[in-house]
């Protein structure tokens, strides 16, 4: 398929709305076509900017109060008793819907923050040079971070596994520096992000559970003052086995 056909799909791709049967082909195309990868990266960046800029207007407190009063606060002057059960039911349904929305919004907010990890991963994959230190040797990659980030970490031995270390680079979330390691298994690439476990990071973790965000599998946990985020388009079993290796290395 030519680039022109893919260009129409890139907007849907960054919204995670590409049909499942096309996603692998588009992924493969983006990895081999710098032109489309650059376009995807630019659109992703634009989407983030619009998301921030678009939350611009807030209603005044007076207006909020006015609508609340008009909507919920003013009872009709004379309500026939026979209507009370129906009115109570309608109010109860509205309250239930609003509570449900609040709960859903909390989940969406958590998902949105974790989606930042997916954005970092996609951005790295779209980059022509996704890592700054290119090496499959953990004894080369780990020391490279010394002096670049304010903490240290252990990397697992990958002998007798299908995983390959591709390299690493420094990354930032909410202005906190962290390590980004890139691994490969078969043709899939997996990002591992390690940060200090601090509230300013502003990211939740999944407490060791694999979740789905933007069509990627993601697992994250906190251990010994560090926060780990592992993300990729591999199956959950592959992701979990890399997480297991990382946990074992952290405790060694």
């Amino acid at each position: 398929m030519s680039c022109e056909r893919w260009e129409e799909k890139i907007s849907a791709y960054i919204d995670s709305e590409v049909p499942a049967d096309e996603i692998d082909a588009l992924d493969a195309h983006l990895q081999s076509c710098a032109h489309c990868a650059t376009e995807a990266f630019a659109q992703l960046k634009m989407k983030q900017l619009v998301s921030n800029t678009g939350k611009r207007y807030l209603p005044s407190r007076e207006f909020r109060e006015k609508v609340r009063r008009k909507t919920f606060g003013r009872a009709p002057a004379r309500v026939a008793w026979r209507w009370w059960p129906a009115a109570a039911l309608a109010v109860a349904m509205l309250i239930a819907i609003f509570i449900g929305i609040d709960y859903r919004r909390a989940l969406i907010e958590s998902d949105r923050k974790l989606a930042e990890i997916a954005d970092l991963h996609v951005t790295a994959l779209a980059s022509a040079a996704p890592v700054d230190v290119v090496s499959s040797d953990r004894h080369t990659v780990k020391p490279w971070f010394e002096g670049r980030i304010p903490f240290s970490f252990n990397l697992p031995e990958l002998q007798n596994t299908q995983f390959i270390l591709l390299g690493g680079r420094v990354t930032y979330v909410n202005q906190l520096p962290g390590a980004h390691l890139l691994y490969q298994i078969r043709k899939h690439r997996i990002s591992v992000y390690i940060f200090q476990d601090r509230p300013e990071l502003g990211l939740p973790h999944t407490d060791g559970k694999v979740i789905n965000t933007k069509s990627f599998h993601l697992e994250s946990w906190a251990d010994a003052g560090l926060r780990y985020y592992v993300i990729g388009d591999v199956g959950s079993e592959d992701l979990e086995s890399l997480c297991h290796l990382l946990r074992s290395a952290a405790r060694s």
Binding site: E7, T38, S51, Y57, L58, P59, F63, T71
Partner: protein, 166 residues
């Protein structure tokens, strides 16, 4: 009222006028309560509320005027220009300030602006956007793609202009 801020923000982006936006939000809640029996439990409540607001806007004087001009602009159905070659640096868009982006979004035709706000700001999925705007998902997809392209073109043009000024 958890949707209140979102509905107000959307109303402001549609009407671009505080008084009109307040009228739209007020009308939305009044209609939602009045027509609550028409809401089908299990369907998307958020999309339903946004649809009420958007319909109220389309029936307003500003809405009628804007949608008319938007249809005229949409009649230009020329294919999108191929993506220009950019270096990664040039498309990082790092230097775009929020004010420039705000002006650019404000100048987008209404049909592109509304789809962009619902998707990128309200983070609705395509199905929800389609329900809120009463349009097919395919149209959501093509309008979004076009909106993002238009926005970038507008910002790049502004960037060139400001360089000339300097």
């Amino acid at each position: 009222m958890p949707l209140f801020d979102s509905l107000y923000n959307f109303a402001m982006w549609l009407a671009r006028n505080r008084d009109e936006a307040e009228d739209l939000v007020q009308e939305t809640y009044a209609k939602a309560l009045k027509g609550f029996s028409s809401f089908q439990p299990g369907t998307n409540f958020r999309a339903w509320m946004f649809r009420i607001l958007r319909n109220a806007f389309l029936n307003s004087r500003t809405g009628l005027k804007m949608s008319h001009s938007a249809h005229l602009e949409l009649e230009d159905d020329s294919p999108l220009m191929p993506v220009a070659e950019h270096t990664p640096e040039s498309i990082l868009l790092r230097q775009i300030n929020h004010e420039a982006l705000y002006r650019a979004i404000e100048q987008l035709p209404i049909v592109f602006r509304e789809v962009l706000i619902l998707r990128d700001v309200e983070e609705m999925n395509y199905q929800e956007v389609a329900e809120a705007l009463s349009i097919p998902i395919g149209t959501v997809m093509s309008r979004l793609s076009r909106a993002r392209r238009l926005l970038r073109d507008m910002l790049q043009d502004r960037g060139k202009e400001s360089k000339h000024v300097v």
